[in-house]
């Protein structure tokens, strides 16, 4: 076992990197890609300097940990440009739209009919039939303001 680890050369690190990146394709989302990148880096550095196998292992650990902030930045940039930001966020998609009150808002709650279902809304008291605009969505509850 130790012999196997001790025999880890620069080529073996590169092979390990390829295998890890390949495994990432088969089981996506398991962070193997970054481990693969770290293995590649270790292999590349081993060509330049010739560290001991223990140092190589520690280098691999450091690179793998260092991949986290790099990946975080990428993930943040990706999520800001999502193709459909309201996917599975149905209530948020209603913000800004104007509806007609189906039942009056009494003591702060009333109902509107949206997409053939009934939504309970919160807002200032208003009679049935008045127009309201959705200003905020929190979970399944909508906050509305009366629209002139």
């Amino acid at each position: 076992m130790i012999d196997l680890l001790a025999s880890l050369g620069n080529w073996n690190w590169l092979i390990l990197g390829l295998v890890l990146v390949g495994l990432e394709l088969l089981t996506p989302g398991v962070f193997l890609f970054w481990l693969g990148l770290a293995a590649f880096l270790v292999g590349a550095l081993s060509f330049v300097v010739d560290p001991t196998w223990q140092t190589q292992l520690l280098m691999f650990a450091v690179f793998a940990a260092a991949a986290v902030p790099l990946w975080r930045r990428m993930a943040r940039r990706e999520s800001s440009g999502a193709a459909s930001p309201f996917l599975n966020r149905r209530a948020e998609a209603l913000v800004g739209r104007v509806f007609t009150l189906e039942r009056p808002i009494v003591d702060g709650t009333g109902t509107v009919r949206i997409d053939d279902t009934i939504w309970r809304v919160a807002g200032p008291d208003a009679p049935a039939g008045s127009r309201v605009k959705v200003v905020k969505a929190d979970g399944a509850s909508l906050t509305v303001a009366t629209e002139p």
Binding site: G29, F31, Q54, T55, L58, A64, W71, A75, I118
Partner: protein, 332 residues
């Protein structure tokens, strides 16, 4: 193998394990809750997420897509004590993963139970006929009640549909019979109405025709009466003129008229093609006898030759009696 060797291997193993534990990729359509020392702290949205291993732990993996659950069959007693079997479906969506995870245990079973009890209370307050014909109303009432009830659980029930309402078999049979009877009743009524209408129309026609006929008769009678009146008037006028003439002239001239008419009448009798026997009242014969010469004329008429008749007539007239006036020469 030195301690440093083992340390290096352990560090690499730990780093890999830590990375695997700290990096969470949440698939679209799901939200994961994060518990720090067992207490909910935040919710992970879809995409790559990072948690702090050792102190954070993924709690519940909540499906944020709209989901459908079957409401199992149950027996419901309606207001008028009919037992119907009802089942349905409910569509709901989780809007708040944290509430749906921790506010309620066994989410779907709670929704099913809530819906089932509300089906019983909504349908139990309706008659069987209403239950069968007001499905939309039932759905909406259920939706309002159940949606309000699940709000604390961070859900929204979008739709509840009653799928099947099955009344017991004997009731279905009775309903079929009722429908048939109702249709038959309508048919019978329609038929009777048609017959009535036709009878009325017929009677009216008859009445109209009778009225018209009676009116015709009345008109005819009026006209007949008028004609009789007119003829009576004419007769009276004629009589008056004759009597005037008689008053002015000789009374014996009257006899001439009588004889003339008598002879004309006989002439008509004689001319009728089949009549060869003429019955004469006794009085008439005696009158004939009294009117001497008329017998001769009659003989001439009933006889065959015309020449002797005219001769006889010419000769007879002067012998006819003192009362007969001398013949008036025909004029024109």
């Amino acid at each position: 193998m030195t301690g440093f060797d083992i340390f290096a291997i352990a560090v690499v193993g730990l780093v890999i394990l830590t990375l695997l534990a700290g990096v969470k990729t949440v698939p679209q359509g799901h939200d994961w809750t994060i518990e720090r020392f067992g207490k909910y702290t935040r919710t992970l949205g879809p995409g790559l997420n990072l948690i702090i291993p050792y102190i954070d732990r993924v709690g519940r993996k909540m499906n944020m897509m709209e989901q459908v659950i079957e409401i199992p069959q149950q027996e419901v007693i309606t207001k008028d004590n009919a037992t119907v079997t009802v089942d349905g479906v409910a569509f709901y969506q989780v809007f708040d993963a944290a509430k749906a995870s921790y506010e309620v245990a066994n989410l779907t079973q709670s929704i099913v139970t809530l819906t089932m009890t509300n089906i019983r209370s909504v349908m139990g307050s309706m008659d069987l006929d209403q239950v069968l014909s007001h499905r939309d109303e039932i759905n909406e009432r259920l939706l309002r009640v159940v949606d309000a009830a699940v709000t604390p659980w961070g859900l929204k029930v979008n739709r509840i549909e009653i799928k099947d309402i099955v009344p017991p078999a004997d009731l279905v049979q009775a309903m079929g019979r009722q429908m048939k009877a109702e249709r038959e009743k309508r048919a019978d009524i329609l038929q009777a109405e048609g017959q009535r209408q036709s009878a009325i129309l017929k009677a009216e026609g008859q009445k109209q025709s009778q009225i018209l006929e009676a009116e015709g008769r009345k008109e005819a009678a009026f006209r007949d009466a008028e004609a009789r009146e007119r003829s009576a008037e004419a007769e009276a006028e004629a009589t008056r003129m004759v009597s005037e003439a008689i008053a002015k002239g000789d009374v014996a001239s009257l006899n001439y008229f009588i004889a003339d008419k008598y002879i004309k009448a006989f002439g008509q009798l004689a001319n009728s093609p089949n009549q060869k026997v003429v019955m004469l009242p006794m009085e008439a014969t005696s009158m004939l006898a009294s009117l001497a010469g008329i017998g001769e004329i009659a003989k001439a008429t009933f006889g065959d030759s015309t020449a002797p008749a005219s001769a006889a007539r010419r000769g007879a007239v002067p012998n006819a009696g003192s009362k007969v006036p001398p013949p008036v020469p025909p004029q024109g």
